[in-house]
Point group: C2
Amino acid sequence: MRLKLRNIFLVYFVVSSAGLLYALLQLGQQCDCTRQTKPPHDVHRWENTRPRGGENLPVIYVVTPTHARPHQRAELTRLSQTLLLVPDLHWILVEDSAARTTLVADLLAQSKLPYTHLNTLTPPAMKLKDSDPNWLKPRGVEQRNEALRWLRENRSPTDHGVVYFADDDNTYSVKIFEEMRNTQKVSVWPVGLVGGLRYEGPLVTGGKVVGFHTAWKTHRPFPIDMAGFAVSLALLLNHPKAQFDPNAERGFLESSLLGPLVAVGELEPKADNCTKVCTYTQYNN
Amino acid sequence: MRLKLRNIFLVYFVVSSAGLLYALLQLGQQCDCTRQTKPPHDVHRWENTRPRGGENLPVIYVVTPTHARPHQRAELTRLSQTLLLVPDLHWILVEDSAARTTLVADLLAQSKLPYTHLNTLTPPAMKLKDSDPNWLKPRGVEQRNEALRWLRENRSPTDHGVVYFADDDNTYSVKIFEEMRNTQKVSVWPVGLVGGLRYEGPLVTGGKVVGFHTAWKTHRPFPIDMAGFAVSLALLLNHPKAQFDPNAERGFLESSLLGPLVAVGELEPKADNCTKVCTYTQYNN
């Protein structure tokens, strides 16, 4: 009996010493954070695993129309690196093309972002010619609407999310993404370097939008830039016909989407009651 | 004797079981990575705690001249967000001004980057007038040299580091920073959208730079863009007179620094033997 007990203890002693030693070594190590921060990839060619937003943070769906031109890769690289700093984000990149291109597919695959890669061609009559000034026809309309179509087919109102239309040639401070994340209907904020002004944006009194600081086509129902608002996913899904109007007069694109969705008084002001500028439109022509 | 042994074993059994249980619980936990990724801040007004590079990774010192203009904040926001993705980096931002401005100081304080904030005025005779084309006089020369002066006063050749001159209006893929980190003397790579070409850069055969793909002033000793090379800190400190020549002919600024430091054959080609483009010069005028 004695012999058995002693053996049991001896074996236990050896095993537990080994275990304790291992544990002591582990507790001194630094965390390997890379495994946790790398998003999972699936092999589906045009999509990367996306967070659903459910019980976690609402997902920010960033919709970016893009088209081929010499500095396209530079612009998309820059934007993707900004988006990498924002958690729970899903990038929907829509090419103005007959087919998804390798340039964009490769960039997305290397971006480490959750993404969806779509494409749709702008009808020839609506397409800017090389010699046209870039304001002559609206750009990216069909592409943004294609993203809305994808969201309606692949998401439901119980997927908590916010949709932001971020063109590939603007500048976004990461702060604006956290500002927009808890949008209930439509949130708004100022945008820098728009319409000949240092900034354009809503005027806020008592926490409510009461007007707009703008110098161009002031009669627009929503005189705000594409970069200056975000819409809750649920609101878009509950209004299945809401989309951008490709025939809208210049400057009225944003109003064509927002008009049916929300009243000015319901807009949710962000960025310190719209006193801080966190996004800037492109200033290169 | 027997009793003593049994007691010893009993005590050991209890203690080790507790230890093993604790270790098992710990190994099941997720890492708390946030503590490791937030850089420490000190209260020194113009500087943020900087990593020294010593036994860790070499530090990348990014030198950026900047000057006041409407889109300055947008450009610096965009660049700072790219730099945030690069570990062991120290940003040296040098204003072309008589004093450090609040705009830049605030941006740096909020950037979460290790930084040094400097300023030096370009002499009036060397300064671009608003009506001058932006290529008429070189920009940022005194500011880059001021950064070199700071490095020589505050670092020693035993501080492992690399110096990269990154202007605030270019685009940088984060990949290029890892490429440059182990620079021994001077490393080089192609740059997109330069000098009328889709890219400009070194030609490499057998792992050595044998020429340059360029279309403009091909007789330059180093026909490469400011964004297309990095210099080891030790090399700069061991050549205390090496700096940019403010009187250099247009396009010869890079050569004025590199000429005394390195021969073409000693250049270290990066980015897959200079076949990949990871940086792009500004294409907005």
